[in-house]
Amino acid sequence: MITLTLKQQPVVPLEAENLSPDVLAPLTHDAIRALPVYHGKHQCRLDEFFDVDGEASDQLTVRGDCTKVKWLGRAMTRGKLTVQGHAGMHLGAFMKGGVIEVQGNASDWVGAEMSGGLIRVSGNAGGQVGAAYRGSMSGMKEGTILIGGSAGLEVGMRMKRGTIVIGGPVRDFAGLQMKGGTLFLLQGAELRTGAWMIRGTIVSMKPLNLLPTFLPACTYRPSFLRLYTRFLRSLECPLPVGMHGGSYQRFTGDASVPGKGEVLVWQA
């Protein structure tokens, strides 16, 4: 068990891509303290910003308001990262395995281009959850992201596989250019949901303002959603009532691409 406690708020964002269980697990206490982090343009030692406790473990806990600490858990493949407080941008980007748990809020690009593992954020997230970086062809390729609160723009942009569940309201362009995977919007979204989507599934528990390029197909009860309900219940993220009662209206789009994505809107 390694515990890092933020002792000094960085003035400008601190880029700490080394704070992942993979990097820390084989290191001694002194080696962890000497790890480089980037404070703006300056390379600093980790112990200039964090109190380090413990060594040689893939169970990592970060304490404090790390809103300005970027790249936590970058490309991790195993172990567990717990953030007791807020996390900055790019949390769990390129992650391949393991678990990240954030007890506060996270910022933009949570789990961007991840290809496995589980990210759980109790608070709100920023934009581009599970998205592709600018100029990149695909976003998350596998894994699960569970956000308890709200999220920002372009959630699941260009995602290819995996599951994202957003508990709170989501802003514009959710599922932008989606190529696959499943996006659950438990409190609906603002505008342009599923814009440019090619394939994949967006499930909304609230009515959506869809683009004119989404056409209603039918109203039904998709059997595969039962599998998702069971899967998410096993992660202690129960979908709200109505999964068993009621039915879903299915929209297909985005006809402007033209794509074969589906948007399922729950009806009481």
Partner: protein
């Protein structure tokens, strides 16, 4: 995925027989655009000038530019992305929802007619302004019209061009693009360029307070940016280079008066189609040029040790 299909304004003048202005008011904001490049000039393949060209204006209100247009399409505010999505579907013969199209303020018939005109022209050009790129949806609105123009090339020749303004904004994009590979929103802290608009773009950086000093060159963010950004500029050391005292100068720590480029300093300006034009000064100025000031600041900075340990070794080896 995206990308801009574009050309120069000379080509527009000589070839374009179908001109769309979207979310802009060129009659008032680019007053010479019609007469020099797009509408009234006779071109090599448009020998009849204005008679040989069709112009469509898409905007949220009837501006003075509408008088110059053959067709004016009034789109409801904030519905541009929806309208472009429907147009892209119609271009490919895909179905759209008539009720949702009606929410854009236009009917499917109007859009279909617009699409037919776009497909049947010989050389189409779509100019888009800040009414599109700076309203809700922002970069995605621009991306959608660029995608529309690119896709129309399956039927005819079609290009798109942003209506840039305010001095040399195109020049800043062009220079950054050929020096770093990216046009804006670039971070060089780690010694190599990284591009991420939203994270590194100026307004987001300032609003979040992610920088601890600013150098402002040829811009006046104090007049245009949101209040939190302005407050951050006032809170942290800010240096402004400008020929005149601007809103930003008033909140900055240092203002360096420079010669006005094009009036009393030579230089290069990039036209909105990215054609570089030399500027010859008509007057002399007692003040240094922007370039001179930047060069002297850079020389002073170069005397300091480099911030990356690896770069220090390299610099020592060179010296």
């Amino acid at each position: 995925m995206g990308g801009k299909v574009t050309c120069t304004l000379g080509e527009v003048k000589n070839r374009a027989d179908f001109i769309i202005y979207w979310g802009g008011n060129p009659a008032e904001c680019h007053p010479r655009h019609f007469t020099k490049y797009t509408l009234t000039q006779k071109g090599k393949f448009v020998p009849t000038g204005r008679k040989g060209r069709t112009m469509v204006l898409v905007d949220i209100r009837e501006t003075p530019s509408a008088k110059a247009a053959d067709v004016f399409l009034q789109v409801r505010p904030g519905k541009d992305f929806e309208m472009v999505a429907a147009l892209r579907a119609l271009v490919k013969g895909q179905p759209v929802d008539p009720a949702l199209v009606a929410e854009t303020g236009l009917t499917v018939e109007q859009l279909q007619d617009f699409v037919n005109q776009m497909k049947s022209c010989k050389f189409g050009v779509l100019f888009f302004g800040m009414g599109l790129s700076m309203t809700r949806g922002k970069h995605m609105n621009s991306a959608s019209v660029l995608a529309l123009a690119a896709e129309l090339n399956a039927f005819t020749k079609f290009v798109a061009m942003p209506m840039r303004g305010h001095g040399n904004v195109t020049g800043a994009d062009v220079i950054l693009r050929y020096t770093t590979g990216y046009p804006f929103g670039i971070n060089l802290c780690r010694g190599y360029p990284r591009f991420n608009p939203g994270e590194f773009s100026t307004v987001d950086l300032l609003v979040r307070g992610d920088n601890d000093a600013s150098l402002i060159l040829g811009a006046d963010p104090g007049a245009t940016m949101p209040q939190p950004a302005i407050e951050h500029l006032a809170r942290t050391p800010t240096i402004v280079l400008d020929p005149k005292v601007t809103h930003t100068s008033k909140i900055s720590r240092v203002h360096i008066t420079t010669a006005a480029t094009g009036v009393s300093a030579p230089g290069t300006v990039y036209r909105m189609d990215e054609v570089p034009l030399p500027l010859r000064p008509a007057l002399k100025s007692p003040y240094p040029t922007d370039e001179e000031v930047m060069r002297r600041i850079r020389e002073a900075v170069m005397k300091k040790p480099a911030w990356l340990p690896a770069a220090n070794g390299r610099l020592a080896a060179r010296a």
